[in-house]
Amino acid sequence: MSSTTTTDHAAEIDRHVRVYLTVFASLMVLTLVTVGISRLHFPVPIAVTVALLVATVKGSLVACYFMHLISEKRLIIAILALTVFFFIALVALPVITVSNGFWIHG
C-alpha cells in the first residue's frame, strides 16, 4: 500500500488483513515444517538446500505481504534487486576464492 491519503480504504484494508492472517498461518506452519524436516537428519547438502528453500519461501511471504513489496514502486524494487546482486557476490565470491586457492586450514 503506498502512502497516499488514508480515506476510503476500509474495504481494501479488510482484504489486506485477510491476506496478513493467511500469511501468518502459513509462516507458523512452515516454521513447524522446517523444524520437522530437520529432525530427519538429511545429509548436510540436502538439509541446507531444503532449509534455505523453506526460509526463502517464508522470507518472501514476509517481504511481499507484510512489507508490501508485491505492490511496491519500481524504484524500491530496483534498489533491492541491486542489493541482492551484491549480496550474492558477497556471500559467494569469498568462499569460492578461498576454496579455489591455497589456504591450509587451521
Binding site: 557476490a89 569469498p94 578461498v98 579455489n100 586457492g101 589456504w103 587451521g106
Partner: protein, 586 residues
Amino acid sequence: MSEQAVVTHAPHAAHEAHHEELGFWRKYVFSLDHKVIGIQYGVTGLLFLFFGFSLMMLMRWQLAYPGAALPLIGRIVGEARMPGGTIVPEFYNELGAMHGTIMVFLGVVPLAVGGFGNFVLPLQIGAPDMAFPRLNMASYWFFFLGGMTMLASFTAPGGAAQSGWTSYAPLSVIAGSGQTWWLIGMIFLITSSLLGAINFITTTIQLRAKGLTFMRFPFFVWAQFVTSFLLLLAFPPLEAAGVMQLMDRVAGTSFFLPSGLVVSGQVIQRAGGGNPLLWQHLFWFLAHPEVYVLILPAMGIVAEVIANNTRKPLWGYRTMVYSVIFLGFMSFIVWAHHMFMTGMGTAMATFFQTTTMIISIPSVAILTSLIISLWGGSIRFNTPMLFALAFLPMFGIGGLTGLPLGLNVADIPLHDTYYVIAHFHYVVAPGTIFALFAGIYYWFPKATGRKMNEMLGAIHFAGSFVCMNVIFMPMFLVGLAGVSRRLFDGGATYSFSQPVLHLNVVSSWGAWTLALFQIPFIFNFFWSIWKGEKTDANPWQATTMEWAAPSPPPHGNFLEVPEAHRGPYEYSVSGAARDFVMQSEA
C-alpha cells in the same frame, strides 16, 4: 548565517514557514541547514587532512634519515615514542596506520562527500535542503565522534592502531589497545557515512526541482549519487568485520585467528579455526568501492570547473553518466585484486583480473571526455581551473600505473612495494585533493559571498603541483627496485635498495616543501572570508542552479522555487545574449 526555522509543528502550506531566531548553538553548532553542516564537514575534514599530512611529514624524516634524531619535535612527542628524538619502529607503524586511516576516512571522504556533497548537492538540484535534515546533523556528529575516537586512540597504552590502515589479522587481533579504539572509531564513521548516503540518495531522487530530469543533472550530482550507493552497500560488510575483529580482541573469539598461531615463540591459547583471509575479503569488499568514493566526487568537481572555464558544454555527457554508473557497479566485484598474493587460485585470479581490466574502461571514458571537453574551449586559467587541469594528467598517471597492479602476474613484483604507494597517491593526492582544492576555490564565493585571492591561489597551485610530483614520481622507481612499503627505515638495510635510497630524501624534501606551499592557501582561505573581493550570486558566470541562489544562500536556499528549463551546460549557445544560459533561467 541567516535565520533558521524550528521544525516541530505540523507542516504548514508550502510557502509559509515559521521562523524563529535561533541561538548560537542551534545556528552554528547543531544546525539542521545543509550548508552549515557542509561547512562543518569541510573545515573538520581539512583540519584532519593537515593533521594526517603532519603524521606523514614525521615519517618522512625517518625515511630520509633513518635513525637520525629530530630535535624539537622529538621532545614534544616524548621518550616512549621518540627516545633521544629518534623514531622507534612501533611509532613509525602508528604514524603509518593513522596517516592512512585519517587521510581516507577523516580527511578526503568527509571533505569530498560530507563537505561538497552536503553544501552543493541540494543547491545544484534546486532543493531547499536535504530530505532528512536531522539525520544530516546526526551524520556529522557521528563523524566528529569517530574522529575524536581516532585522535584519542593516540593516548592508549601502546599507542594508536599500528597494523596498517588495512588492519590485517592476525596482527591486528593481537595488537595493543589502540586497535580497539580504531575499531570503535570506524563503527562511528561507518554509521555517519550510511546515514549520509541515505540522505543523499533520497534527496537527489525526491527533492530535485521541476524539470530537472536525471539526464539534466550536473555531472557532480551524478558523481555524488553513485558515490552514495557505494557507501550505502559497501560499508556494512566492514562494519560486520569490525564487530568480528572486536569480538576476537575483546571476547576471545577466533574469527580471524587460525589454529596453532605462534606469537613470540609461543602457540596462543585460542580456539583457532578462523581465517585471516576472511578479514581481507570483508575489508576489501568495502575498501575497493571506497577508493571510488575517493575519486568520483573529485571527477564531479573537475567536470563542473572544466565546463565552466571552457565556456563549452561537457563533451560526452551521456557517456560520462553511463560510465560512472557502470564504474560504480563494477567497483563491487573487483576487490580481490588487492589479494592476488594470498595464495589465490588461477581461476579466481583470472576472474578478478578480468573485472579489474573492465573497470578501467569507464574510468578512461570519463577522463577522455574531460580532456576532449577542453578542445575548442575559451579556457580561463583561474585557480579552480588550474587545479582541475592538473587533475587530468595526474589522475591519468595514477590510473595507468594501476593497470599492472590489476594484472595478477604483473602484480607479483609490484605488490606491497613503493610502486603501489606511488600509484594510489597519484590518484588521491595530485588527483582527488587537487580536485578538492579546485572545488574550494570554485564554491568559496557561493558560501561566503567573497572570492579567494587569485595570486595566492596560483602560488598554492604551482608549488603544490611541483612538490606532488617530486614526492611521488621517484616512488615508482623505488618500488620497481623492489623496496617494500611499511619498512620503518625505507629499505636502508637491503642491498637491492641502495641504488634508490637517495630518492627517499628527494620525496621527503618534496613533502616538507609541499607543506610550506599550503601556507598561502590557509592564509588565503581565512583572510578572504573577511577581506576577499565581494561577489554577486554568479561570479564565474556559471550555468548550474547553485549559482541562481544568493551568495551565501539564505535558509531555504532560493528566493523563488527554481525550475530547470534546459541541460546543465548551456555555454556558448548560438543566438543567446550571453555566452551562457543558466539552467533555471526561464
